[in-house]
């Protein structure tokens, strides 16, 4: 009976579509922790990935080293010219740090928004389907990594910890398109302006800094860093530099294209930083009327 088989196949298809929708709905929900089968599978896979990714990195590193050798001379010349500048800068930083510490002592104010404690980690995997930009790192909750910690490289902020298991953790990059992936940022200059990093322009490969006040005067190459006001990230982590400022779609605020300081593609070593200051409760940040709803 071909009719019967056709119906059976149709039923299987319909049932699997229902299961698909249910599963997607389940995994899109805001979850504080993954279920234990997921954690177990991810940790096991992470273990295998560590075994394979180390030799692969060494192999790739060799070619990179050869490539680096080619332009060593040019780089050396440039770096030498920057060296004098650096010594001066270092002295300045030192005196400023000391002064800052003294002033803090006078004020009796110990902690600041920019305090953080770094944890070193190595990238062992990356989401191959590039819709959601996720990295897997080799440190987990046993090393003190928790959800919502920020992740930086030596050149700037790259994202935050999405969730952590016993031995591995997942990092969501700033470039991934997710409504909850927002960073409160500030543009440093003679006057500081606040905005929010919301989204990533694929074609220009730049972050979008939105909600800057309309009267703000921002120029190219100004530094954008985290403000620490969002309650998740510590302040003063470099995000990137301003490339172009345009009016927003409604013309009420301005939007800036920010060239990320960190490279989102070639990441090997990262630092996970824990915000030293306590995180405010969500109920403190939204108004009381909203809470009542």
């Amino acid at each position: 009976m071909p009719q019967f088989f056709l119906n059976k196949r149709l039923i299987i298809l319909l049932v699997s579509i229902i299961i698909l929708v249910a599963l997607i709905g389940f995994s899109l929900k805001e979850r504080d922790e993954l279920t234990w089968p997921e954690q177990f599978m991810k940790d096991t896979a992470g273990w295998v990935q560590t075994l394979v990714s180390r030799p692969a990195h060494y192999f790739a590193g060799f070619f990179e080293n050869v490539k680096d050798l080619q332009n060593t001379y040019e780089e050396n010349k440039q770096l030498k010219s920057r060296l004098n500048e650096l010594a001066q800068l270092k002295a300045e930083v030192q005196s400023l740090t000391e002064e800052n510490k003294e002033l803090r002592d006078i004020l009796d104010k110990q902690d600041s928004l920019s305090d953080y404690e770094p944890i070193q980690a190595t990238v062992i995997g990356r989401n191959p389907d590039r819709w959601n930009e996720l990295l897997i790192i080799n440190k987990g909750s046993t090393n003190g990594i928790e959800k919502d910690m920020s992740v930086i490289t030596s050149t700037g902020l790259i994202g935050k910890v999405k969730n952590s298991r016993q031995f591995t953790a997942t990092v969501q990059l700033l470039s991934s398109n997710d409504a909850t992936n927002r960073v409160s940022a500030e543009v440093v200059g003679t006057e500081t302006y606040y905005g929010q990093i919301e989204g990533f322009d694929r074609e220009k490969e730049m972050l979008l800094l939105k909600r800057i006040p309309y009267e703000a005067k921002i120029e190219k190459d100004q530094i954008v860093q985290t403000s620490g006001m969002g309650g998740v990230f510590p302040s003063q982590l470099v995000i990137g530099t301003v490339e172009e400022v345009v009016p927003d779609e409604y013309g009420l605020t301005q939007m800036a294209y920010v060239k990320p300081g960190a490279n989102f593609y070639d990441i090997e070593h990262v630092m996970v930083v824990k915000r030293g200051m306590i995180q405010p409760e969500l109920s403190d940040m939204i108004g009381e009327e909203e809470e009542k709803k």
């Binding site: 389940f26 599978m41 295998v48 990935q49 191959p128 389907d129 590039r130 074609e203």
Partner: protein, 172 residues
């Protein structure tokens, strides 16, 4: 012995996809293009066509689930798409003759279907705001070129192995 190799090959494809995007910086060579490896899909389609259909669908299901849990963190998309594409590929091969060139094209078609399906689902749940023309230009074309290169490299050795795998299955 012959049969134990297949899970190993497919697992290697699974892990190699992640290492590939981690190490290869195509973005630094060709700016603003995305290449996505679908080595897992290709090997599952080959298994379905040359090995056995049942095993192909089974691997599609298992590795689809693993892919979702380990990499994408949205359970369901690959779990659904991998067996479906493998099934469609085996269905197409019923009317085609199994010539290696034709199988390679069917595998490439499978990759296209997978990309389209995953794009549509991600578009529906707002994980991406890329419009369709942008998607074809930035993502689909470079991806197909990469996977074509992979298929050309792997087709003949994989076919040889899977023929012996099917032979071993028949002898059991």
């Amino acid at each position: 012995m012959k049969k134990a190799f297949l899970p190993l090959i497919i697992s290697l494809c699974f892990i190699f996809e992640s290492i590939f995007v981690e190490l290869l910086t195509v973005e630094s060579l060709v700016s603003n293009r995305m290449v996505v490896p679908h080595f897992l899909m290709v090997s599952i389609i080959f298994t379905t066509i040359y090995g056995s259909r049942k095993h192909g669908l089974m691997y599609g299901f298992i590795f689809g689930l693993l892919f979702d849990v380990v990499y994408t963190e949205i359970i369901g998309i690959y779990l659904f798409m991998l067996p479906l594409v493998a099934y469609i590929a085996s269905w197409i091969m019923k009317v085609m003759q199994s010539n290696i060139v034709i199988v390679s094209f069917v595998a490439l078609l499978g990759v296209t279907l997978l990309e389209l399906g995953v794009y549509e689902m991600n578009f529906i749940i707002h994980r991406t705001d890329m419009v369709f023309s942008q998607f074809v230009d930035i993502r689909l074309m470079p991806t197909l070129i990469l996977n074509l290169i992979f298929i050309v490299l792997i087709a003949i050795p994989l076919k040889k192995y899977l023929d012996s795998y099917a032979e071993a299955l028949r002898n059991d």
